[in-house]
């Protein structure tokens, strides 16, 4: 009996992954047209960002309103490589000659001609930036709303910086007109399908990784830090490092998502990075259930789909709906739709980790007296 309950969650998880793989690899390509499948590919990219936010925000309490920055870093790293590859060795991307009037490739572009470097950069660059900022910010115990506002300001600053360097970044246009993906022609629907499969596989892989992280001792510690950072400190941990790991991992995921978004959609631009897209990444996570594993994924896909479907017919209504989702879900159902599922299904494999309750505040009052 006991063996069964212990084995159960693991078995269930693998069944779940199997089912997910079946839906993503068999059902979706069979049922959807090329156009719809390419839309799904785009949504799955947002879902990858959402997985990271779920870890950092749902489990770690780090409301990052600047994931667009990391999404953008990954996207630009990938797009820079693809633009260089399109242009061919020794040539400059088209827009540079047009807008930049540069005679030669800027030095910081050059390494991206190397596919290995560019691929590594899509993940490592965002992680590095997150590490730098996170170290500074968490070490000094900047947290909660302060952290949220700072991460938002970072997104704003990044957009201004990118737009200002039009000659080398494409400015507001971003990097567009990307034809090839490591030698494969992106105009060919078959290759678009390949891109979709890669994105789906990456999403499944990252879900597995995140599941492991959430169930590991680190995952428990992360929840502990979220609920009572000071208490964790008194146990001999440095909460800054615990948070840093979640933040950096989430940044890496966003970077990877950005990198995959480029071949799927064929564009990366500052419009995907700023304050508004960054906060829109969060809405899907909130709706789906911030602390659950699958909640953010399903939430992100559902919200992106609803946006496409509804904004076509009722652009104004969509804005109301989006606002209402923030208000209703966050205020009255902080666990998201996943918590409804949890209520229906009494038993849980892992202890629930719902909305952060401010254990810290009780503690603060406590030591204050």
């Amino acid at each position: 009996m006991k063996a069964l309950t212990e084995m159960n969650p693991r078995l269930r998880a693998w069944l779940g992954f199997g089912l997910g793989a079946l839906v993503l690899f068999a059902a979706a390509p069979a049922l959807l047209s090329d156009f719809r499948l390419s839309l799904l590919a785009k949504y799955l990219c947002f879902a990858i960002v959402a997985v990271g936010i779920g870890l950092a925000w749902g489990r770690g309490g780090l409301l990052t309103l600047g994931q667009g920055v990391f999404f953008g870093l990954g996207g630009y790293a990938m797009a820079m490589h693809l633009k260089l590859a399109d242009a061919g060795p020794g040539n400059m991307p088209d827009f540079m000659e047009l807008y930049g009037q540069l005679d030669e490739l800027p030095a910081w572009w050059a390494p991206f001609a190397n596919p290995a470097f560019a691929l590594a950069a899509t993940v490592l660059l965002p992680m590095l930036v997150a590490f730098g900022l996170g170290t500074l910010v968490f070490r000094r115990r900047v947290r909660g709303a302060y952290f949220a506002i700072l991460s938002q300001a970072l997104a704003a600053a990044m957009v201004i910086l990118l737009i200002g360097q039009q000659g080398t970044t494409g400015g507001t246009n971003g990097l567009t007109d990307i034809d090839g993906f490591f030698g494969y022609d992106l105009d060919d629907p078959v290759n678009q399908r390949m891109v979709y499969f890669i994105i789906a596989a990456v999403l499944l892989g990252l879900l597995a990784l995140t599941r492991q992280l959430m169930r590991s001792r680190y995952g428990e510690l992360l929840v502990a830090v979220r609920d009572s950072e000071e208490r964790v400190r008194f146990l001999g941990y440095n909460p800054a490092n615990v948070k840093l790991v979640a933040y950096v991992v989430a940044a890496g995921m966003a970077g990877l998502a950005g990198a995959l978004f480029v071949p799927a959609v064929g564009i990366i631009s500052p419009a995907l990075i700023g304050i508004v897209p960054s906060i829109e990444f969060v809405i899907g996570v909130a709706v789906g259930g911030r602390a659950a594993l699958l909640g953010p994924v399903l939430g992100a896909v559902a919200v992106a789909w609803a946006k496409t479907a509804l904004s076509e017919r009722f652009p104004g209504t969509w804005t109301y709906l989006q606002g209402a989702m923030f208000v209703l879900v966050v205020a009255f159902l902080p666990g998201g739709l996943a918590s409804l599922w949890g209520m229906v299904r009494r038993r849980r494999e892992t202890p629930p980790a719902p909305a952060p309750v401010t254990g810290d505040q009780a503690l603060i009052k406590e030591v204050a007296v």
Binding site: M7, T176, G266
Partner: protein
């Protein structure tokens, strides 16, 4: 047992993913493409066209008016019997002021709705985002907004002004007025930066001094420093390529700093009748604009257009240059299709050269080589009533020259 099971499942899914990914590999870059584009669905008794404008987000303010103008043209054409005997069925999509969304919706219009042509886009960024989509699928886009030139896609018709039909005439006008120096103020994006590059090249060749160049991030509303710089530079005129909200803040600051249209006029290229309304004539009266069309432009075609527009959308709604260009675009497409006798993209393109239309702005002619149109350049002065009246025009339509090949001073720009 369990471990075995896990490994097996893991290996299975990895193998599945790998097999699918490998089997899915298609054409390599450089190989002959098999895809020949999507053909429009014209089988029924209607023909679909796409309207691709931002109906939400920051650009909705401008783009909704363009969509309204396109719908007006469609309605008029349908009332007159349609195109090649088929009624036009407009399908409107929201670009949501977001460039990837534009690309996505363009793809939907082409592949799912199989429209014969798409009208829309406003910002250069949205055009750049959809350009590869139209080229890949060999579908047509009519782009109705003045832009920075330096582009010539085989699948886009540009019915707004290119630089030699708006910016260069604006500079010519300033020069003719005896202005010796200018100050450049613009929003930080592609159009102003490219425009200012052209202005600097022109200035160098024409003895005009550029005393300063400043950019504000899109949406920026703090112009204290920039106006202070403009003021101390004491230029003869300001060339303004600011976009959107920034114009409001700029002109309020400009007036408050004691700068006047008489002493230091501002030539704007993004302020049309709609924008005048939202900034207020209190701040704008006497300032100059460069366009190809004003609501006050004379001629029976414009009288009819303005009357029809106001009848459909309200008497307080002004008409403006981009709206006129969008309205004209639909009629030009109709003329091309009728000349070609077919909705087929390649045939329509082939028939385009020399197609004319008596537009509200006057006679326009399609230049088949560049797929731009011949347009008359006009400088206008903003009046106390919020309308813009023409103070100068180029006399006859100016031949489009997107790469400024006909201007010796512009060599090296493109």
């Amino acid at each position: 047992m369990l471990r075995l099971h896990r490994r097996g499942l893991m290996a299975g899914s990895v193998a599945l993913a790998a097999a699918l990914a490998l089997s899915a590999c298609g054409a390599k870059t450089g190989e002959n493409e098999t895809a020949g584009g999507v053909t429009a669905d014209t089988s029924g008794d209607t023909v679909k066209v796409g309207l691709l404008n931002s109906l939400s987000g920051t650009m909705a303010i401008s783009e909704v008016t363009v969509r309204d103008a396109i719908l007006l043209a469609v309605e008029e054409i349908n009332a007159a019997g349609g195109v090649l005997g088929k009624k036009i069925e407009p399908i409107s999509e929201d670009g949501a002021s977001d460039w990837p969304t534009f690309a996505e919706k363009a793809e939907k219009l082409i592949k799912v709705d199989r429209v014969a042509a798409v009208f829309g886009c406003w910002t250069s960024a949205s055009r750049k985002a959809v350009k590869p989509v139209f080229e890949e699928n060999k579908a047509l886009l009519f782009y109705p907004v003045q832009y920075e030139g330096l582009e010539q896609s085989p699948y886009i018709f540009y019915t707004g002004a290119t630089t030699n039909q708006q910016i260069v005439p604006g500079l010519d006008y300033l020069k003719a007025q005896g202005k010796k120096s200018v100050y450049l103020v613009g929003s930080d994006y592609v159009f102003p930066r490219t425009a200012n590059k052209i202005i600097k090249a022109y200035a160098e060749a024409n003895g005009l001094k550029v005393l300063g160049e400043d950019y504000a991030p899109l949406g920026s509303t703090e112009f204290g420093t920039i106006v202070n710089k403009v003021k101390t530079a004491k230029a003869d005129a300001v060339f303004n390529t600011l976009n959107g909200d920034s114009n409001v803040a700029f002109f309020k600051e400009y007036k408050s700093a004691g700068l006047t249209a008489a002493a230091m006029p501002v030539v704007s290229v993004s302020i049309a009748e709609e924008e005048v309304k939202s900034i207020g004539t209190q701040y704008l009266a006497g300032q100059l604009t460069a366009w190809n069309y004003y609501q006050t432009t004379t001629g029976p075609a414009n009288d009819k257009f303005v009357k029809a527009y106001k009848a459909k959308y309200g008497a307080d709604k002004p008409t403006s240059d981009p709206m006129e260009a969008a309205y004209t675009a639909v009629y030009l497409w109709k003329a091309m299709v009728e000349k070609a006798g077919s909705f087929e993209v390649e045939k329509v393109k082939g028939a385009s050269d020399g197609v004319t239309f008596e537009a509200p702005e006057g006679l326009v002619t399609v230049d088949g080589a560049t797929q731009h149109i011949h347009k008359t350049a006009r400088i206008g002065k903003i009046g106390d009533d919020g309308l813009i009246t023409e103070v100068w025009n180029s006399g006859s339509p100016v031949k489009p020259d997107p790469y400024l090949k006909g201007y010796p001073w512009a060599t090296g720009l493109s």
